[in-house]
């Protein structure tokens, strides 16, 4: 009886461990081991997902035999993975502070800003809360979400609200911008503050409401080829392509502004 119980216990615990994929700090590195021959591994902020996927395809087309693998996650999660020794060749962050920490850890030198993004209010397409601007974020009867202040979009959102002189009545601080946007899309929130590019990417499911320049915050994204890269030349080439006029045009088509 005791042995049987112990067995059940062990099996169940094992299953729990296997199924618990939600608790980690984002996806593991896509390569797992040292990148082979011509594989470039790019760690990029979640908000760059669509734009960088397209940039990666074009880069591959221009460099036959080269594969580009992406790890998209919150910049802070990527920073932790890079400092923890993840085999990344390029790091593109959604804010300066995560990049600074990677530089301070001696893992990169000379990051350059390559793109900017502004904030927008996202509401469900039917705007059930009749949100018109940041002042509505103080209404307790509305379901208001922000990013957590631990991630860049949360810091920027609070900054914008402070500029507008609004004390928000927050219902949830989401761990990243995509999960915030998903809740707005599904109508589980009346409004949230996200990046302009996220509203564009969401299409018809979400309506964007402009934040006036006086209240808005401009996020500057830095990029760098990491010092520990086994493909230093490829990494530099990729960073160069992202900053080239052709690369900037792709980024612009996804709603990013010039750095």
């Amino acid at each position: 009886m005791k042995l049987k119980l112990a067995l059940i216990l062990a099996t169940a615990v094992l299953l729990a461990g296997c199924s618990d994929t939600g608790g980690g700090a984002g996806p593991a590195t896509p390569t797992g081991a040292t990148p082979a021959g011509g594989t470039l591994t790019v760690f990029a902020a979640a908000s760059l997902t669509d734009a960088f996927t397209q940039l990666g395809d074009r880069f591959k087309a221009a460099h036959p035999g080269v594969t580009v693998e992406f790890n998209f996650a919150a910049s802070s999660a990527l920073r932790e993975q890079i400092i923890g020794g993840a085999p990344a060749d390029v790091f593109a962050s959604a804010n300066e502070s995560n990049m600074t920490q990677v530089v301070d850890a001696g893992l990169a030198t000379g990051p350059t800003p390559f793109v900017t993004n502004v904030l927008q209010i996202a509401v469900p397409s039917d705007n059930p809360g009749q949100v018109a601007g940041l002042s509505d974020f103080g209404k307790a009867e509305l379901l208001i979400g922000l990013c957590a202040e631990e991630v860049p979009c949360g810091q920027f959102g609070l900054e914008a609200l402070a500029k507008a002189g609004v004390t928000p009545s927050i219902d949830t601080n989401e761990p990243d911008v995509r999960s915030l946007l998903t809740k707005v899309e599904n109508g589980d929130l009346d409004a949230g503050i996200v990046y302009h590019t996220d509203v564009l990417a969401a299409g018809d499911a979400v309506r964007g409401i402009e934040i006036p320049a006086g209240q808005n915050v401009v996020a500057t994204y830095p990029i760098v080829a990491l010092s520990g890269s086994d493909h230093a030349d490829l990494a530099t080439a990729f960073v160069g392509y992202v900053r080239s006029p052709a690369g900037q045009r792709v980024l612009e088509s996804f709603g990013f502004g010039p750095a």
């Binding site: 112990a6 059940i8 299953l15 729990a16 296997c18 802070s76 932790e80 631990e150 991630v151």
Partner: protein, 268 residues
Amino acid sequence: MTSGSANRARARPPWLLLALGTVAVAFLVMPFLALLQRTPWSGLGELVGRPVVTDALRLSLLTSLAATGAALVLGTPLAWLLARQRFPGRSAVRAVVLLPMVLPPVVGGAALLFAFGRRGLLGESVYDQTGLLLPYSAWGVIVANTFVAMPFLIITVEAGLRSMDRRYEDAAATLGASQWTVFRRITLPMVAPSIVAGAVLCWARALGEFGATVTFAGNLQGRTQTMPLAVFLALESGDRQAAIALSLLLIMVSLAVLVPMRDRWLGA
């Protein structure tokens, strides 16, 4: 029985079992040792006293215990039905019951939103008529915890019921006891160790729950931010020391409950 098992315990274990068992212990203990090695012991007291930590700990204990209570009340009867009754679709029910264990918790949380969210299958009409909303409240955390953790109780209790000696139930029934009386007076006491084991597993799983909670209930200090969410965000903000200290606190709390339970109910 006692002297027999004592003799058995004294005999030398086969080397293969000993070797593999040692590897298993080392594998499981190593990460915890690494965690301890990185723990900022000097700042621990200050960290643990922070309002964000006390809020998260209080909420975690409250919601995980409530979820365990809900799982006991709902899951034990279901385990009995699965173990003792024949009905069409029983194997399908059994498979569905296990789904939350294999589903990535974030997906489970999204599914809960589709069901009980403001625009959900059931949630929409409830919200329109009463204004009640599960997400963004401690109730939402309890629902997410129960969804993810209840299967652990169900499979443990069902296995206990299946391996139980049924002659006592049969004898009671022969003597005229109703099925309800047999369940209450014979089955429940006999299967109690499995129920306790299942409840402990369920509670431990609920205490560590992250994905379904953050997706369904959201994250707000004092209202929905449990310990795992606080740990995750501390890590996000780059405050690794705080994240480690919080994890350690969570581990100590669970050990404080699990170790006495194990000695008392599961045999040490």
